[in-house]
């Protein structure tokens, strides 16, 4: 308990510097806020690995099953984004706290309920770019890694853009799998594709101009689609 209280004390200090207005209000009410934090931490520990002090991939699996969500579901990624989790497959206590506090979820039930709202929030255009870019960074597992292999990119694309731009993603994935020029995709190309989906009319590409600054991979992609269409 002492540990908890000491943790509470320390967590109080951290939460007070990072708090939103609601949290301030809550902390102003004092007890309720403390209770909430307590429960969030408890939830954390119910999934975390004792030795590492983090929720590891195994823990995440449990979490997912409790949330009744596939661990490959995009909502888990969104949750990670909300937490600003740095390492793929791991949540630290700080990250956990950050995320759940923002979602006002201190129980599994509440967390589950918060997921739809989270999704809405993420899907807002202003947030989605950030999320999209986060998704890429999240997959850079090695230090100094700057690109992601084609296989993984295809999965990520499906996950992140599959529902929004099914046609484009479908074609692009096909292209990526058949072409030989590129073995990896970098951030620039990744972001370029998102812009491409948003701006370019599909599948006619009427407003696509390869003389502009589109990444070369997209020029090749357009040529590939066009040659398939004719």
């Amino acid at each position: 308990m002492r540990r908890a209280s000491s943790k509470k004390a320390s967590s109080n200090s951290t939460t007070s510097t990072n708090s939103s207005a609601m949290d301030l209000f809550r902390s102003a009410t004092g007890k309720a806020a403390t209770k909430e934090l307590e429960r969030i931490d408890q939830l954390f520990y119910s999934y975390s690995n004792e030795s590492s002090g983090m929720i590891d991939p195994e823990g995440i699996e449990y979490l997912c099953s409790d949330l009744e969500v596939e661990h490959t579901d995009v909502r888990i990624l969104m949750l990670a984004w909300k937490m600003q989790a740095e390492k793929q497959g791991y949540f630290t206590l700080e990250e956990w706290r950050k995320g759940l506090k923002a979602l006002h979820a201190d129980t599994i039930v509440k967390l589950k309920k918060a997921l739809p709202e989270l999704e809405n929030e993420v899907r807002r255009p202003s947030n989605y770019v950030e999320f999209y870019s986060y998704a890429f960074r999240y997959c850079l597992t090695e230090e100094k890694q700057k690109s992601i292999d084609i296989e993984s990119i295809c999965e990520l694309l499906e996950l992140v853009l599959g529902s929004q731009f099914p046609q484009q993603v479908d074609f692009f994935v096909q292209y990526l799998k058949t072409q030989v020029d590129y073995k990896v995709i970098n951030m620039d190309q990744w972001m370029g594709f998102y812009r491409f989906c948003n701006e370019i009319s599909f599948p006619d590409f009427n407003n696509y101009d390869e003389e502009l600054a589109w990444p070369l991979i997209l020029d090749n992609f357009v040529d590939w689609v066009k040659s398939k269409q004719s």
Binding site: N186, D188, G192, A213, L216, D219
Partner: protein, 787 residues
């Protein structure tokens, strides 16, 4: 022939006759021609001077006192109104006074003087009137005269009387009616003259002669009539603006009745056209007749409508047919010669009988039918010409797919350039030079493509290109009159064809130069060599990827210098300076450096020989010289591990010691792949020298391989990549922020070798990856420099 112009000028000799009626040389005809109005003083004046007294019947006239002198007469009552002159009496008086003065004097003397009688002159109250039928009678005279003229019969009336008749009628204000009568009279004769031509003569030339005669007669007749009625022309006609001059009136009548006798007019025109056609077909025709009749048309004012229009149509048809026929049967040079001849003929036609105003439309029509409409066909056939010129020079014309017709014969080169010259001149007349230029461009590109892209003919490529260019230049000078636009066309086409194949032409040109600059080119004089170098430089100028050339040239130059294979150092240096002028010193700095190294090496070798190390430590029996090369100037050579004979190793070490003692702070690296040596061997049959490379010494051959050439090219491309990266960074560093399109534009301006936008994009993305640049967050079309 009669020209109307001369008719409208008044003839001066009639002026006298148109003076006032009170002429002293008055000879009155027996009929009544008295004056109205004022008194007739002439008789009195005469009487005055005579100073004679005459007696008159007081009732009729006046009397003079014979003693009275002039004064008395003057003081006598001379009431003008009461004077009367009886013509008959006058005559009697005159007669008597003329002949019988002395008689009278004599008589008078006998009789006693009568007392002076008073002189009373009384005018008649009534004005004198014209005789009845004055106009009719006067006209009758004229009418007879006119009629006689037209009928070509003699007229009893003399000209004086006719002039007077006209005068009289005009003076009595009958000019208008006279004019109308004349017109009517003329009209009837003119119309009958023209009508009489209807149905005349089947033979066109005979008919035309008849027409001419009719016209000629008409002109003469109108002239005469006008002469007679000149007074009318100069008074009534002048004063009446709505009325034509007599000559013009005559012309109008002729024109009117010619068109009424339409068959005549059409037949005349038809006849004329037929004559001209015959002449065009080579027959001789009566040009004078043509000329006269055409002048008739002009005079009548119907030349453009009645003649020129159908003539031009006729001409158009004639030359349309001729153009087609000749194009099918003749070759281009003959056709063009024929066209030239025809155009000359038509021009002459205008000098000889056609009106000058026809020249322009006529020549234009002929040009159109003979040239303009056949430009394409002429050009198609003209390739044959060019092929012959090139075949004459043994230029490879493979790649040109048009078939040669067997009708052509090999002509001397000079004739062909003449033919092309003719074509150029004629085409410029019909504004078809653009077609010619375009066709020339296509031809050069096509032929050039054949030369450049045929891989099997690579070893002849440079030579063929040089010959091709020389031929084109000659044609440009001799046939195309050094036309600037054509000059540019040749240049552009050459630039296009030489770059059709990337890199290879550049490589081959470098090789070609290598051959020329190598020793063993016996028989080429210095001047010839210089000339060749200049011509090759022209080709070099067209190459877009000059760095490829540089890489090969450098490699070959290095070999020549190191193996001592240069034919002439002067020629080598001359080539370098030409390249320097062409591409700037940056291009040639390294090459010049290579020369310096060779010079320097000589000196080093000399001093080495003199050195103590050489004298004391060198193994005997070997003479070695060393080339010291500055890295950076010379091509890079792959390091090769070679085991040399012991003596050579020793030598190398001693030299190294010597060198480093002179030049401290330098690193020497032996390039054993380049070494070669001369083995002086004693064979049974005598001494021989063998020049072999070091590897041969070690029984390893070093041959230039295709791979080596490929790697040279590869290195050039690698180098280009670095240059692009460097350029991008340089530009972005300066601009800090630049749009994609502007960056691409900048790069194209700065980079000296051909490169595609795709390649530029690749390098940009690579630099983004390496974090030299980033895309701007708010505008993805813009790049930011990352410091």
């Amino acid at each position: 022939s009669v020209t109307p112009l001369s008719m409208s000028q008044p003839s001066n000799n009639n002026r006298k006759r148109s003076s006032t009626s009170s002429s002293s040389s008055y000879t009155s005809p027996p009929s009544s021609t008295t004056t109205t109005g004022g008194p007739h003083f002439s008789l009195m004046k005469k009487a005055k001077s005579q100073a004679v007294s005459c007696s008159f019947d007081n009732k009729n006239g006046f009397q003079l006192d014979n003693n009275n002198n002039n004064n008395n007469i003057n003081s006598a009552s001379q009431d003008p109104s009461s004077m009367i002159v009886d013509p008959t009496e006058n005559d009697a008086v005159r007669a008597s006074s003329a002949g019988g003065f002395t008689a009278n004097l004599g008589r008078k003397k006998a009789t006693p003087p009568q007392p002076a009688k008073k002189l009373v002159i009384k005018l008649l109250k009534a004005k004198p009137t014209l005789p009845t039928n004055f106009e009719e009678n006067t006209w009758a005279v004229l009418k007879t005269a006119i009629s006689s003229i037209f009928l070509k019969q003699p007229d009893p009336c003399d000209l004086e009387k006719l002039y007077q008749a006209v005068n009289d009628l005009c003076l009595h204000k009958m000019g208008g009616s006279l004019y109308q009568r004349i017109e009517k009279e003329c009209e009837s004769h003119i119309s009958s003259a023209l009508q009489s031509l209807v149905g005349q003569s089947e033979d066109l030339v005979v008919f035309l002669s008849l027409v001419h005669k009719t016209w000629q007669d008409f002109c003469d007749q109108m002239l005469m009539i006008r002469g007679i009625a000149l007074y009318l022309d100069r008074t009534y006609v002048k004063q009446t603006p709505s009325v034509r001059s007599l000559w013009d009136m005559g012309l109008q009548l002729f024109r009117k009745h010619l068109s009424l006798a339409s068959e005549v007019e059409h037949k005349t025109v038809f006849g004329l056209l037929k004559m001209i056609e015959s002449e065009r077909l080579g027959e001789a025709v009566d040009r004078t007749l043509l000329s006269h009749l055409l002048k008739m048309f002009t005079a009548l004012g119907i030349y453009p409508e009645s003649f020129e229009k159908p003539f031009l149509e006729c001409t158009s048809e004639f030359y349309a047919a001729e153009g087609v026929k000749y194009m099918q049967h003749s070759d281009v040079p003959d056709y063009l010669k024929h066209v030239e001849v025809r155009l000359h003929e038509e021009h002459d036609r205008c000098l000889l009988y056609l009106d000058a105003s026809t020249r322009k439309p006529l020549v234009a029509t002929a040009e159109r039918q003979l040239l303009e409409l056949h430009i394409t066909a002429i050009l198609d056939k003209a390739w044959i010409l060019l092929i012959f010129i090139f075949k004459f020079h043994n230029i490879n014309t493979i790649g040109f797919s048009q078939p040669l017709t067997s009708g052509f014969t090999m002509l001397m080169d000079g004739n062909r350039t003449q033919d092309l010259r003719r074509m150029y001149t004629l085409f410029s007349r019909v504004n078809a030079l653009e077609s010619l230029r375009h066709a020339l461009s296509s031809y050069i590109r096509k032929t050039g493509q054949g030369i450049v892209t045929d891989e099997e003919k690579d070893k002849d490529m440079v030579y063929s290109l040089l010959e091709f260019k020389a031929s084109l230049d000659k044609i440009w000078e001799e046939s195309f009159s050094k036309n600037d636009v054509f000059c540019n066309t040749i240049k552009e086409a050459f630039e296009h064809l030489i770059n059709l194949r990337q890199n290879r032409p550049a490589e081959l040109i470098a090789k070609f130069l290598d051959e020329k600059l190598r020793a063993g080119n016996k028989g080429t004089s210095e001047e010839e060599l210089e000339g060749t170098l200049d011509k090759v430089l022209v080709l070099f100028r067209f190459i877009q990827g000059k760095d490829v050339f540089e890489a090969f040239y450098k490699k070959d130059l290095a070999k020549r210098l190191l193996l001592g294979k240069s034919a002439s150092i002067d020629a080598e240096k001359s080539m370098i300076s030409k390249l320097k002028t062409e591409c700037g010193s940056q291009f040639t700095n390294k090459l010049e450096g290579m020369f310096k190294d060779i010079e320097l090496s000589k000196e080093i070798n000399e001093s080495f020989k003199q050195s103590s190390q050489a004298r004391t430590k060198l193994p005997s029996g070997i003479e070695m010289s060393v080339h010291v090369l500055t890295t950076g100037y010379w091509p890079t050579y792959p390091p090769m591990d070679v085991r040399l004979p012991h003596e050579l190793n020793v030598y190398q070490d001693i030299f190294k010691e010597f060198y480093l003692s002179k030049y401290s702070g330098r690193r020497l690296m032996w390039q054993n792949s380049l070494g070669h040596c001369v083995l002086k061997a004693e064979f049974a049959k005598g001494k021989k020298e063998l020049a072999v490379s070091l590897f041969q010494v070690n029984a390893i051959q070093l041959k230039e391989t295709v791979e080596e050439n490929a790697s040279t090219t590869e290195r050039v491309f690698q180098d280009r990549q670095y240059q692009v990266d460097a350029a991008i960074v340089r530009i972005m560093k300066t601009r800090k922020m630049l749009s994609h399109t502007l960056l691409i534009t900048e790069l194209f301006q700065q980079l000296k070798f051909p490169i595609k936008p795709v390649d530029l994009k690749k390098r940009i993305e690579s630099l983004i990856d390496r974090e030299y640049l980033e895309r701007d967050k708010s505008n993805p079309q813009i790049y930011n420099y990352l410091a």
